[in-house]
């Protein structure tokens, strides 16, 4: 007990310390420090070898240096990190961060638009910078996420669009969305249609079954619709290239699809079953789209195809039951090891917001079932950055990259590890959050009379 109390007090002191330094926790007038030197830390750069007693220098939002015996800039705030470890901040590659506050309250949910084709909606528009989920998730060492619209969800009313909109890569901190943006349009969401023989009818609130032939017909119709949208986007792109001479009417939906058909913007294709994945791969190949697979419960069944087409995967949590009752019980847990051995590139993600803090736990579970540790660590840092085309900015601790950095007292994937310091764009950022505040408040509740 005394040990527990000691820990708690230590934490409080630590938080107070952060309040003094933090930009997000302090008043708007105070100018945050612009350079830091994290000293005597074990530094996991993820780009080169691990440094045992190294220094990481942060200046003007970026990593100014990583190594041993570096020059410390004058006026830098020094942090003695003896016994601590430094990593790039974790990256959750599929979330509804800021798009959903309380799942059951539709007024607080902005994750999924109505209608099937919404290529012009952008997640960043609706990400609520004051969402309580952001600091809660940040406390788990997550410094950036992909906010994904239109990707379904148990609170999306059972609907879900086909083209869900544009996903935005954001920092997990900043006063307003402009400060949070890493890449406003990082991927176009495509929920690959399923052949559904079982559906749920909300008007009668009952389950409906339909014959396979009918379900297949509907599936084909939806795929044709996608093809049609892409065709029109291609024509639109041609008209745009010709400029005003083409005399075309502006269409914001088609305009949003232009980077997709040009192969500039990746398509984040949500599919889990092998058949759907195969169909989606074939489709994207034919349409010359840059595909990123999201979900991938049965990616192992098509690993050679994914490898040969160089299609990366953002895997749904390992802590998910297998799709079929005759699957091995650890089917999803052992899949990452199998994909890594086959040379398929993948990242891990929570596919959620309130469960985002389980990102490290999921990665650790993949290690428990055979994935090399380094691969697991990269699957929550470097690989998502590479998959989303922002590895030039984040994902490793290299000079010149944005300083999204965490300092921990241990393995960041382990359940009991604490994040001690967290930097976003070089700013020492508060680890305070709704949960910690409620804990402190009720820890102090006197005995009732």
């Amino acid at each position: 007990m005394s040990h527990a109390r000691g820990r708690f007090q230590y934490r409080l002191c630590f938080i107070n310390f952060l309040y003094l330094l933090s930009s997000a926790g302090g008043s708007a007038q105070s100018q945050p420090a612009s350079s830091y030197a994290i000293m005597h830390a074990k530094i996991f750069t993820l780009s080169g070898s691990t440094i045992d007693d190294g220094t990481l220098v942060i200046r003007d939002g970026k990593i100014a240096g990583v190594g041993v015996g570096l020059d410390i800039p004058a006026g830098a705030h020094m942090i003695d990190a003896k016994g601590l470890q430094v990593y790039p901040g974790l990256f959750d590659a599929v979330t509804q961060m800021g798009l959903r506050e309380v799942g059951a309250v539709s007024a607080t949910v902005d994750s999924t638009e109505t209608g099937n084709f919404n290529p012009d909606v952008v997640a960043a528009t609706a990400v609520f910078p004051s969402s309580e989920h952001i600091p809660v998730t940040r406390a788990a060492g997550i410094t950036e996420v992909l906010a994904v619209p239109g990707s379904g969800g148990f609170d999306s009313g059972g609907g879900g669009s086909i083209i869900g909109g544009q996903a935005s890569a954001i920092h997990m901190g900043g006063w307003e969305i402009d400060e949070m943006l890493i890449k406003k349009s990082a991927a176009m969401v495509l929920n690959w249609p399923q052949v559904e023989t079982q559906t749920f009818d909300f008007t009668t609130f009952s389950r409906k079954e339909k014959p396979y032939s009918e379900a297949k017909q509907e599936y084909d119709k939806q795929v044709n619709e996608i093809t049609d949208w892409l065709e029109r986007a291609r024509h639109y792109a041609q008209a745009m290239e010709k400029g005003s001479a083409a005399g075309y009417d502006r269409d914001v939906k088609l305009e949003a699809l232009v980077p997709v058909v040009r192969g500039e913007l990746p398509v984040l294709v949500f599919a889990d079953r092998a058949r759907e994945i195969r169909n989606a791969v074939e489709f994207c190949d034919k349409q010359k789209l840059r595909m990123v697979l999201a979900g991938g419960k049965e990616a192992y069944k098509v690993k050679d195809l994914l490898r040969s087409k160089d299609i990366p995967v953002i895997l749904r949590p390992m802590l998910t039951l297998p799709p079929d009752e005759d699957d091995p019980y650890d089917r999803l847990l052992s899949q990452p090891a199998e994909l890594a051995a086959a040379g398929v590139k993948f990242a891990f993600a929570s596919f959620d917001n309130s469960f985002a803090r389980r990102l490290g736990q999921n990665a650790a579970n993949a290690v428990a079932y055979g994935l090399p540790y380094d691969e697991a660590l990269k699957a929550v840092t470097l690989y998502p950055a590479q998959i989303l085309g922002i590895a030039d900015q984040i994902g490793t601790l290299e000079q010149g990259k944005l300083a999204n950095v965490i300092v921990t007292d241990g393995d960041p994937l382990e359940l009991t590890t604490d994040v001690k310091y967290l930097f976003i764009r070089g700013q020492l950022t508060s680890l305070d959050n709704r949960h910690l505040r409620l804990y402190e408040k009720y820890s102090k509740r006197p005995k009732p009379q």
């Binding site: 379904g152 059972g158 396979y212 019980y329 736990q361 290690v367 428990a368 359940l415």
Partner: protein
């Protein structure tokens, strides 16, 4: 049923309660009578950690524990070098092994009994076994203020339904407070709202039911008294299946497990319980339990909560991962439960989170999935720690179980190995082969032109519509990340609602 039968039934309950241990079955036939687990790190939970220790199991019970254990020559030796043994995990809130979860059409459904809908072939039993779970509290859903009757089972995979119930364990009943029983998040278009629709109505529903149950109890007592006095031509009261379980609650023969979230509704049920003279055994979820921890401790009621679920509905917006630790520190017996077949596969990890969130010790954290839920379910005299005389219900990990890197190697119930990871892996090629043969058989039978089944065209690899999908067996709380596609709607369907 005659009053005599009713009295016998009552007596039987008393009998089970008093003599439960004697009525428990011997070792299953295919388990060796004597097993010795050797060279293990044993986390006893009751008396510390034993390095390089041994556990002797005789007839399904723990016969000896220690660094040196004398094993008879005929004992089957299980070498556990480098491995960690803990008491089997007990999940205090589960909905596995069930054909149905909610009888949600009425506000008081105490007449329904989960034991009648046990499904021993539910694959989730095996999946949870593979997560080290040996016993689970099988609950009715939370669609109504007073839900159905509940029971504790052991996860004896492969045994018939009759072999699942935990012998001697007190039966229970599910209550529910807050958003679910008032149907805040569920509505069927075109149907009127069911009473209650407010927390006031939830309280009134419970009070009204217990007022009735009190009268019913009195009527029977009066009848039994007069019958015992030899009075002739008495007409017994009409038997009421809805009130009988509530009478058992009043008589202390049935535990109340109440789903709840908010601080106010927790105190509300404690007041109602006091008014009618019954005890609440556990508050389930109890995500705001940390706000009223002293009141919970004073009432001697257990709290069974989630590790870190939050924000899936308004009443879960003040949920904090420090809940378990804060309640523990204020003297409440706390367990961490799953409410979900998947979550149950890593309850060891969920318990470990209280070390980080709130600074509990390793042992305090481990207790929350072993002895604490055992105490809450009144089965601690048989399970929950590694002590001589207790059932040999054990989980064996390849490393410290309070780590995300730990993997269950074996799970034993009554000294019998019900899960063995190495055996599971070794048997996979054989199972694949069997599946292929079955699929071929099915394909052949479908080629006959006269049999025009609607799903005959379903390609292999896709499940037939009537087979249950994993996604359909969602927990009643539904906070888990979404599954893609149609299952979302299925989730809404089963989401504590129907």
């Amino acid at each position: 049923m005659s009053s005599k039968t009713f009295r016998i039934l009552n007596l039987l309950y008393v009998f089970c309660f008093l003599y439960g241990p004697l009525a428990r079955p011997a070792t299953p036939p295919d388990a060796p009578a004597v097993i010795v687990i050797q060279n293990a790190t044993i986390l006893t939970v009751s008396h510390g950690t034993i390095e390089h220790g041994s556990i002797l199991i005789k007839d399904g019970k723990i016969a000896a524990v220690g660094q040196t254990v004398k094993a008879p020559k005929d004992a089957q030796v299980m070498d556990a070098a480098g491995q960690f043994v803990i008491p089997g995990i007990i999940d205090c809130h589960s909905h596995i092994a069930l054909e149905a979860i909610n009888e949600g059409s009425v506000s008081v459904s105490s007449m329904v009994d989960m034991e009648q809908v046990l499904n021993p072939e539910d694959i989730d039993i095996y999946r949870d076994l593979a997560g080290g779970v040996t016993a689970a509290n099988i609950l009715h859903g939370s669609a109504n203020a007073i839900g159905g009757q509940t029971l504790v089972i052991k996860l004896r995979w492969g045994q018939p339904a009759a072999k699942l119930p935990f012998e001697g364990a007190m039966p229970g009943i599910k209550f529910a407070l807050g958003e679910n029983p008032k149907r805040s998040n569920f509505s069927v278009p075109g149907q009127p709202r069911r009473y209650p629709a407010t927390r006031m109505g939830v309280e009134e529903t419970i009070r009204a039911a217990f007022a009735e149950a009190g009268d019913y109890k009195k009527a029977w007592e009066e009848y039994n008294k007069r019958a015992a006095a030899g009075e002739k031509n008495l007409i017994p009261p009409r038997r009421d299946l809805r009130l009988e379980p509530l009478v058992e609650v009043l008589e202390g023969k049935r535990y109340v497990h109440s789903h709840c979230y908010r601080e106010d509704e927790i105190l509300m049920l404690l007041r109602v319980a006091k008014e009618f003279g019954f005890k609440v055994r556990t508050f389930q979820h109890v995500l705001e339990g940390y706000k009223v921890a002293d009141e919970l401790a004073a009432a001697g009621v257990g709290a069974s909560t989630f590790s870190d679920w939050w924000a899936y509905k308004v009443e879960a917006y003040d949920a904090i991962p420090y809940n378990a630790a804060l309640m523990t520190r204020r003297g409440v017996v706390v367990s961490v439960n799953s409410d979900d077949a998947e979550e149950a596969t890593h309850l060891n990890q969920e318990a470990a989170k209280s070390i980080k969130f709130g600074g509990l010790s390793h042992e305090e954290a481990l207790k929350m999935v072993t002895i604490n839920p055992a105490m809450q379910l009144g089965i601690d005299k048989w399970v929950g720690t590694i002590d001589v005389g207790k059932d040999a219900d054990l989980a064996i990990y390849n490393r410290d179980p309070l780590s995300a890197y730990a993997v269950v190697q074996k799970t034993l119930i009554d000294g019998r190995v019900y899960f063995d990871r190495q055996r599971d892996i070794a048997e996979r090629p054989e199972r694949e082969k069997e599946k292929k043969v079955l699929i071929e058989k099915l394909k052949k039978s479908e080629k006959k032109p006269e049999e025009k089944k609607p799903d005959a065209t379903v390609p292999s690899g896709q499940k037939k519509p009537e087979m249950k999908k994993t996604e359909e067996k969602k927990p009643e709380e539904q906070p888990k990340p979404p599954q893609n596609g149609a299952s979302d709607s299925a989730a809404v369907l089963s989401g504590g609602a129907l």
